[in-house]
Chain length 292, copies 2
Amino acid sequence: MFGGFGMRGFQVYPVEGLPLISCGDDLAGLTVEALEKLGLPLREGDIIVYSSKLVSKAEGRIVDIRGVEASRRAKVLAAGLGRPAGFIQLVLDESVEVLGIWDGLLIVLDKRGMVCVNAGVDKSNVEGEYSYSLLPEDPYGSAEELLRRLREASGITRLGVVLADSATRPFRKGMIHYALACAGLRSLWDYRGSSDIYGRTLRFKVSSTADMLACAAGLVMGEASEKVGAALIRGLGNLTTEDEECEKLTVDGWQDIYHGVFQPHHRRREAPSDGSPKPISPSPPKIPGERG
Amino acid sequence: MFGGFGMRGFQVYPVEGLPLISCGDDLAGLTVEALEKLGLPLREGDIIVYSSKLVSKAEGRIVDIRGVEASRRAKVLAAGLGRPAGFIQLVLDESVEVLGIWDGLLIVLDKRGMVCVNAGVDKSNVEGEYSYSLLPEDPYGSAEELLRRLREASGITRLGVVLADSATRPFRKGMIHYALACAGLRSLWDYRGSSDIYGRTLRFKVSSTADMLACAAGLVMGEASEKVGAALIRGLGNLTTEDEECEKLTVDGWQDIYHGVFQPHHRRREAPSDGSPKPISPSPPKIPGERG
């Protein structure tokens, strides 16, 4: 039967026993060893979800902001936001554009094509008072490389890899995990053209399986001092593929159904509408010290 | 140790064998029976994730649009969008405000406080050519009632319930499941004040566990003809509580970090920016037949 990716159910295990990762470490090899010690050696169809932070550490994407030269723009923003100028410079370097500012957070279009907070520049679980982690430079490339190394180290061919990060979302409380990148996976499951229970053809539904895998893993990985930076998902082998490369989950450009939605509403809150849309002239996002 | 909700891992099972649900059915009782037949009787700490559609059916939230009287506004919108006027009327009835329109979809603030497409009015897996399902009127109330009935029918006290639906997201491909409502759960896990590996205090991180549970379940539920409208999640009992009521996941009002972000960028695409925000006067979302 089509769909229902794990019709017998699946299991999610924390990959415990990984050491703290440093630049140059063989993350895939360490994963294979840790799983063997846990009595969970890799099997065909297994999916490994990594915290993107582990990958950043293995790739040396940790920066001491004391060595970062800040531009005038970064300094002005930093003064307004009460954050270190070197940190702001890192965020700007990782971004294509600043889309908005809220309570000290920069909401940006990052250079990997995501709309996110602070371009993923983050301090938690990074050693050193002045050190911050950056997201992997090429996350899909990193996922593919991890997949190749996992195959080599384990002798298992059919595996999936997801790099997971946590993110806020518009109009929802709390953060969830999402797939920053993946490899060896059917990252999107296209239901279009298949039938529902009553034989009606589905016209719109495409599921982001990679994002849901990241969320499932997020429930065992934690965000604090758990030292669980990876999870094994077993039982969803029909989501894995022979290919390394898989479909990307970012929306290219701004061909998005939500564009144009948020700002007009925000303005309408101040001038209550009678229910029908009206022309609106919003002010730009307020950026302290920036010229309009 | 704090956090890492399922440190020994967890399991997700499709609840197979549920009958097609009709108005008035005892969904909780049927769930307990189905799980017993599957050899998976409920245990303390189990979490049941239901497709919100099953709950809508059990609550009789299925409407034949031929009996819906359409307002002039609905008729005008329907003509412009090429959709039945009765359907548009249902969406308007379920909404507080239309925020935008894209390719025949209405993006609305729905009366339950969510920003979503078509206010959740949906045709898939609903019997009858003219029948559509509406989301439960009071999803948190529905989740709490399901929890009470599950407790009665099983004799198990500590259980969690999530009502899951699938949704599109800004700037991401594909849909993921999210928690429309929940009961008996620590729906948000607050890391603020706890420490990372290096003893640094986390200041921002709150995880939406209910949404991640919905995603984990989404991997076994499918969207087409799988007839799996519920999932059992076992091994995350520390997310369950004695209370029925749990914290809601919608953001009240527009106190959201992303407000003001989307529309200005969309406009900037047409007038490329030099990197610094500028005042912008966007036109309103285009609604065929509506007067500005």
